[in-house]
Amino acid sequence: MAGRPSAPVWSSLRSCLSGALVGFTVSDRYASIITVRGPSMIPTPGVKPGDCALVERLCLDRYDFSRGDVVVFRSPRDHENLVVQRLIALPGDWIQVPELQEIRQIPEGHCWVEGEHSASISWDSRSFGSGTGRQQSTITEVERWRVGDHRSSGAGKKPSRTQIPLGLMYGRVTHIVWPPNRIGRVERKMPEGRTMQQWF
């Protein structure tokens, strides 16, 4: 008998445990709240560092995202960090990449995200084994991965654009819930003239 927790302690422990279980499940499957920090979380226009955003996770069921959504995903360079950016193109779309001066098609299972940030390595990747069927020259694979410019913090905003697999998606930002003067819906917005959808 000695050492057994008393009834109120036990019942409050049990309710904490059940609350935690329900909370984890709701946060994994339905909706979750994240705090946007910068620069590790890269803000987009409409979402600033310090905001608390409501992230909807029902879209992960069928991966039905729309162009222009603000999405949260695990960073391809660091799986423990979440990144907030805007989704610009879906698989099959053609997108114009200004820095490389090329037009590229998004391969299946991937998407194109863009955001603004003030300090980071802008990382650009070519999809491996791109299905163009062209004979590749003898460049090694190492050269295919190019790292963009690195700017020190405070040097101004530099857009970050990358192609990521859809499997990295964490959710879609629907509303800002804090601070009170910024409570409201986060709208879908598309930059003009950058993408062309696949019609066939």
Partner: protein, 163 residues
């Protein structure tokens, strides 16, 4: 008619409703516990296909997947992992990790037909995955190094074989 109504009034509706509510809540808690364990602690999966022969069966293996190790970055070369396919996010595939970030990986480009090989350095935050059966496996030789965030678990034992 009135005896029927009297009998209806005699049924303890409040107690029944209270008990139904608490049973439903308990059921919901059990479902949540199952989800949390399945998604964050460990899980059972059915893996099939030719890409991991001979380690895994063609017809299928029931395996136990450890989610905690993968979540805290304790995946290393030689581990068999379950990951979300970079070509289709609704599919999970199982492959073996051959290289972590910074490692240099050499692989055969076309194993059945030629001896040529390529060498690649795995970029930051990525892993190189390959199926054990290199003749019939879609892996990093085709879609490149995959971000670590796509790995959902580490397969550590098999519990049953599907014949």
């Amino acid at each position: 008619m009135s005896s029927f109504l009297r009998r209806l009034a005699g049924i303890p509706w409040r107690e029944i409703a209270g008990e139904a509510r608490s049973r439903a809540f308990l059921f919901a808690q059990v479902l949540c516990a199952v989800h949390v364990v399945n998604a964050h602690v460990c899980s059972i999966a059915l893996v099939r296909g030719p890409s991991m022969l001979p380690a895994m069966n063609l017809a299928g293996d029931v395996v136990v997947v450890d989610r905690v190790g993968a979540r805290f970055g304790r995946v290393g070369p030689g581990d068999v992992v379950l990951l979300i396919s970079p070509q289709n996010p609704r599919r999970m595939v199982s492959k073996r990790v051959l290289g972590m970030e910074g490692d240099t990986v050499t692989y055969l480009v076309n194993p059945g037909n030629s001896e040529s090989s390529k060498t690649v350095v795995v970029p930051e935050g990525h892993v190189w995955v390959q199926g054990d059966n290199i003749y019939d496996s879609k892996d990093s030789r085709e879609f490149g190094p995959v971000p670590y965030g796509l790995i959902t678990g580490k397969i550590f034992c098999r519990v049953a074989k599907v014949t």
